[in-house]
């Protein structure tokens, strides 16, 4: 029998509780400030108002920036998931020497700091006219999101039994239909979560958009950066409430997708 109160264990649990508080409290504290009656950020919030949500939704500059960022994020999600699926399939079905090159290229965007890529793209896009275009942002964000998507998709791809495809092909299916009708449905949950992660990475991405954003058309993270740097109004907590709700939704969606995949496998 263990003693009911182990002081070492108690101390350890208290330490873990403190770590969790450090991790979570800053996020929980900023959220209620969105409803504060004051026009600066204060805790505990005073009064109650939905004014700051109105300030966000009613302001054409915030709305334009949000729309622009949503468009970039959606395109990034689709393009990243498509490119990652094709490349991962080739990799798992025998890429030879190209595979080694692929893995080297894949790790680079994680290792090279975003500030380096941001500055490099700023110069390159200015020369090629891609600065502050949807295409420019989508390419930049796809590069950043690619490793995450590839590893999410590869995890499912390498778990698919290859004899299933062989069976389909010996029954007369072409390689492409075997992939489309057998393998793709099996890896679809991971393709979708890879796309979701790419969406979030792009929508929140502050560094590259900081350098690429123009004066007239800003992304949402760039507008938020300017607000935090200059005035820090309760519009930021209002956006934080919306962004956190979105992050929770995405996490729940990704969790459900994983559960679907696990059930299929068993």
């Amino acid at each position: 029998m263990k003693p009911a109160l182990d002081p070492a264990k108690l101390l350890m649990n208290a330490y873990v509780a403190l770590i969790l508080a450090f991790l979570i409290l800053p996020i929980l504290i900023i959220l209620p400030m969105a409803f504060s009656d004051t026009d600066y950020l204060t805790f505990p919030p005073q009064g109650f108002t939905l004014h700051w949500f109105g300030d966000y939704f009613g302001n054409s500059r915030w709305m334009k920036a949000t729309g622009f960022s949503l468009k970039i994020a959606a395109l990034t999600a689709v393009i990243t998931a498509a490119i990652a699926t094709a490349a991962t399939y080739a990799l798992v079905r025998g890429a030879g020497r190209l595979g080694a090159l692929f893995q080297g290229f894949l790790i680079m965007p994680i290792v090279v700091p975003h500030i380096a890529l941001a500055v490099a793209l700023y110069l390159f896009f200015q020369r090629t006219g891609l600065a502050n275009t949807v295409a420019g942002y989508v390419m930049a964000h796809s590069v950043i999101a690619m490793p995450f998507a590839v590893f999410t998709i590869a995890a499912a791809m390498s778990a698919v039994d290859p004899t299933l495809e062989d069976a389909a092909m010996s029954c007369g299916a072409s390689r492409f239909s075997a992939f489309r009708l057998v393998t793709l449905p099996l890896i679809l949950p991971n393709v979708l979560s890879g796309g979701l992660f790419a969406f979030i990475l792009s929508f929140d991405e502050p560094v590259i958009t900081f350098f690429l954003a123009g004066i007239r058309q800003k992304t949402l993270p760039r507008m938020m950066f300017d607000n935090i740097e200059q005035s820090l109004t309760p519009t930021i907590p209002a956006i934080a409430v919306l962004l956190t709700a979105m992050a929770v939704l995405v996490l729940v969606a990704a969790g459900l997708l994983r559960r679907v995949e696990a059930r299929r496998r068993s």
Binding site: L20, L98, I228
Partner: protein, 287 residues
């Protein structure tokens, strides 16, 4: 990575493989490799060919200080993250049921929530009449508000908060892979909990610890948002210095040289630790 990307099934013909991988290589070459290399070539060709821009970084004590400060802050953030991430990862690996779900949610929510939102939260917490100052006075550590915002301390705290989850996941992945029998065997042989930790758990978790530590260290070196918003303009890090050279002084070649120093350093560390810095393991705790 051989195990992770194992060849399986009937091999595709090489032209099909090339076709399927072409979009990936086109994207990386066009929007990553070429821009970075052309920026780096700028640093050794302008204003005149040679290493003049790099000499400027080394010779001017102002810039050398920025490099040293960046290195120091990255080390401190990595150590702080480890001290916080390891116990949390252990708790996650041991927890069951609702507790496991709660811990996972607590780690993943900040992971996927906006970096700007978290930075704004710290800017509110650390302001002159903010909660942290109130707490310090209530405890009696100071009698009047102290300056917390726009200091190195603020940068370290907020960066640890943002980067720590990146360390939790690989450590958690490594801990989950330790068969519980090992600990039991050590206990039967008479090892106490402390000895079990240092002779069984920690050595087996070391690959996860190293991978996570390198990931946090490399990310901290080039971090921009937190020093830009919470740091003092007088105590720059390399990323804010690059931004300033570019946006205020329009000194492209010098900014390019700073990017060069950062990129070469980061690449060298990655190559040196390529055995432990394995991204597939890092995503092992992807949950």
């Amino acid at each position: 990575m051989a195990g992770f990307f194992a060849w399986r099934g009937r091999h595709l013909p090489p032209p099909v493989v090339a076709l399927l991988m072409a979009p990936f290589f086109m994207l990386i070459v066009f929007a990553f490799l070429y821009p970075i290399l052309s920026l780096l070539s700028l640093s050794v060709t302008e204003p005149q060919p040679g290493l003049g821009n790099y000499a400027k970084i080394v010779e001017n004590p102002l810039y050398a200080t920025v490099l040293m400060r960046t290195l120091w802050i990255a080390v401190v953030v990595t150590v702080c993250s480890l001290l916080l991430a390891f116990p949390l990862a252990m708790a996650m690996a041991q927890a069951r049921g609702a507790m496991a779900l709660l811990l996972t949610a607590c780690v993943l929510l900040p992971f996927w929530s906006s970096v700007l939102v978290r930075t704004a939260a710290w800017s509110v917490l650390l302001q002159r009449n903010g909660i942290v100052n109130g707490l310090l006075q209530w405890v009696g550590l100071t009698s009047e508000p102290v300056r917390l915002l726009y200091t190195e301390g603020a940068v370290v705290i907020a960066m640890t908060h943002v980067l720590m989850p990146f360390m939790v996941l690989p450590i958690y992945g490594a801990l989950r892979n330790i068969p519980p029998d090992y600990g039991r065997a050590a206990a039967i042989c008479g090892a106490g909990p402390i000895r079990r930790f240092f002779e069984v758990t920690f050595p087996l978790a070391l690959p996860g610890v190293m991978g996570g530590a390198i990931l946090v260290f490399l990310t901290a070196l080039g971090y921009f948002i937190t020093p830009a918003l919470l740091g003092s303009p007088k105590e720059q890090m390399i990323a804010t210095l690059i931004s300033q050279q570019l946006r205020e002084f329009l000194d492209w070649p010098f900014a390019a040289a700073l990017v060069g120093v950062l990129t070469v350093f980061v690449t060298a560390i990655t190559l040196a630790f390529s055995k432990v810095f394995r991204f597939d393991r890092m995503m092992g705790g992807q949950l």
